[in-house]
């Protein structure tokens, strides 16, 4: 610390020496007054000698102070100012290889995140609503998932229409809709939505009661319990968080193929009944009927 004070005092001494020198030169530059009298000349000389001796005195002072200084062993921290002394020529630095490396890393991260995004989109079991990726194009997704009630009404009463099917939208549970679909004289389905996403589907026979208070009991008939299982796998298949509206539409088209549940024989074995059941599975793209045990062959 004492060193610091000494250094400070020395700097002050240097400062005052510089100001004295400066004063001296200023006086010299000013010269004598206008009239070249003897008085003036002597006065000028006296002043210069005063200044000069003052400078000499200060110089000595500085020299003694400097001699009293010891070179410090610990290097003091100088902040960003240290960089002032740095070499700035590119060739002299090892920056290039580092830059190339980090560029490669960023490229890899980009590639992996893209693959992950595609993968997650393919994996329909993922039902979470919080999405990490917030690209500009995906903002509409969040808004679609909390639509105004008319959106669903409009979707089912206007956009989606199938002959033989009657849709009825109920909104018993706040803004989330329950859609009752009666498909021909074959079956009744309750489609429980959250926003535009399908959360659950219950399937029952045409002669069974289907009420808003009782959406969870299974059908008393084996065939409709089976169909319900299949609707759940189809619901997950068609699930697409980025285009929920399209998902609902495709699902409903698929579900409507059950209007011929009892009428069509299995596409594979050609029979109507297998294990006491009609072909309960409908292909997701072609909508062709299959028995559950025939679909994977």
């Amino acid at each position: 610390m004492a060193n610091m004070e000494k250094l400070n005092a020395t700097l002050n001494a240097v400062k005052s020496l510089r100001s004295s020198v400066r004063q001296c030169f200023e006086q010299l530059a000013d010269g004598t007054a206008a009239e070249q009298t003897e008085d003036n000349r002597t006065k000028f000389l006296v002043e210069f000698q005063e200044n000069y001796s003052h400078i000499n005195q200060q110089l000595r002072e500085v020299e003694t102070l400097i001699n009293g200084l010891q070179p410090s062993l610990v290097s003091s921290y100088l902040g960003n100012t240290t960089y002032l002394a740095q070499e700035i020529t590119q060739d002299r630095q090892a920056m290039y290889s580092q830059l190339v490396n980090s560029y490669k890393w960023i490229d890899k991260v980009h590639e992996h995140s893209l693959l992950a995004f595609n993968n997650l989109n393919l994996n329909n079991l993922r039902r979470s609503y919080t999405y990490c990726s917030q690209k500009r194009g995906r903002v509409q997704y969040t808004s679609c998932n909390n639509p105004d009630p008319e959106f669903i009404d409009n979707l089912f009463y206007n956009d989606i229409s199938h002959t033989n099917t009657i849709y009825e939208v109920c909104r018993q549970f706040s803004s989330n809709a329950v859609v009752f679909a009666t498909i021909s004289h074959v079956l009744k389905a309750a489609i429980i939505c959250k926003g535009v996403l399908i959360e659950w589907v219950t399937v029952k026979g045409y002669d069974e009661p289907m009420e808003i208070d009782d959406l969870w009991t299974e059908s008393r008939y084996e065939v409709f319990r089976k169909v319900q299982e299949h609707t759940h796998s189809a619901m997950l298949h068609f699930f697409s968080p980025t285009q929920p509206e399209l998902a609902v539409k495709s699902f409903m088209t698929w579900l409507n193929s059950y209007s011929k549940l009892f009428l069509e024989p299995c596409k594979r074995c050609g029979k109507y009944v297998s294990n006491g059941l009609p072909p309960t599975w409908r292909d997701l793209r072609t909508l062709e009927p299959f028995h559950e045990e025939c679909k994977n062959c």
Binding site: H185, G205, D207, V223, F262, Y272, N275, G276, L277, P278
Partner: protein, 239 residues
């Protein structure tokens, strides 16, 4: 409640009724059907006394599938049939009319036997007896999840074929193709029922149709009553 088709079974030559039932039971069990108890459908006919104008008949039927219901069909004698589905207390009401409508006891006919379930199918093998005399076999097959015959006839046909071992005609059963109905103008028309929503009374109508046919047969089917285990009291009179 679903579509039911009632079909008489032609007993193969040289077999008794009991043997035929036994054969069908084995076929059903081999198919994967499960035995789930017994069933009974009975029919009693009340005829109006002659002094009350043209003779009318009230057929009163019970079906164990609908244990607290009485089905009645009033035959006006002019080709018109009026069905009435009521609580089984209706039986007591019929007894209040005994001075006008009397029961023809000797034509009391019933079909009873075992009941099987195969998936959602309900299959009943009924031995028809009138006054304890074996008259034949009626097979009832119901596909419970479906309410329109047009949709599920091929399914029913396939299952029937699979345990009867014979081909069943592709045409809809007679009861569904031509049913006389009275239209709004009061005229009778033939109406194809295969697209209609099926109701329990349709099952009863089919039973009545077949029971009436059996009653008309004065001769016994090819199986003689002595060889049939189904008829216990062969000494009783035959209508």
């Amino acid at each position: 409640m679903g579509v039911t088709v009632l079909q008489p079974y032609q007993i193969p030559e040289g077999k008794t009724g009991a043997q035929a039932i036994d054969f069908l039971t084995k076929r059903l069990l081999a198919l994967g059907a499960v035995h789930t108890g017994q069933f009974l459908v009975d029919c009693e006919t009340y005829i109006s006394a002659p002094q009350h104008g043209p003779s009318k008949a009230v057929h009163v039927l019970h079906d164990s599938e609908y244990p607290v219901t009485t089905f009645s069909i009033l035959d006006t004698g002019t080709g018109k049939q009026i069905p009435l589905v009521a609580d089984n207390l209706f039986d007591l009401l019929m007894l209040k009319m005994t001075s006008v409508y009397t029961s023809k006891k000797q034509t009391k006919i019933e079909s009873k036997g075992a009941r099987f379930e195969y998936g959602d199918f309900l299959i009943k093998l009924g031995s028809v007896t009138m006054m304890e005399n074996f008259k034949g076999i009626l097979i009832e097959i119901e596909y419970r999840p479906c309410v329109v015959l047009f949709y599920c006839w091929e399914m029913i046909r396939e299952v029937l074929q699979s345990f009867l071992g014979v081909t069943v005609a592709k045409e809809y059963p007679g009861y569904f193709t031509s049913q006389p109905v009275v239209n709004a103008m009061g005229q009778q028309q033939l109406h194809a029922k295969q697209h209609d929503i099926y109701e329990p009374i349709d099952t009863i109508n089919q039973y009545l149709e077949h029971f009436t046919n059996y009653r008309k047969q004065n001769i016994m089917p090819q199986v003689s009553s002595q060889s049939s285990n189904m008829s216990m009291n062969t000494g009783m009179r035959v209508s």
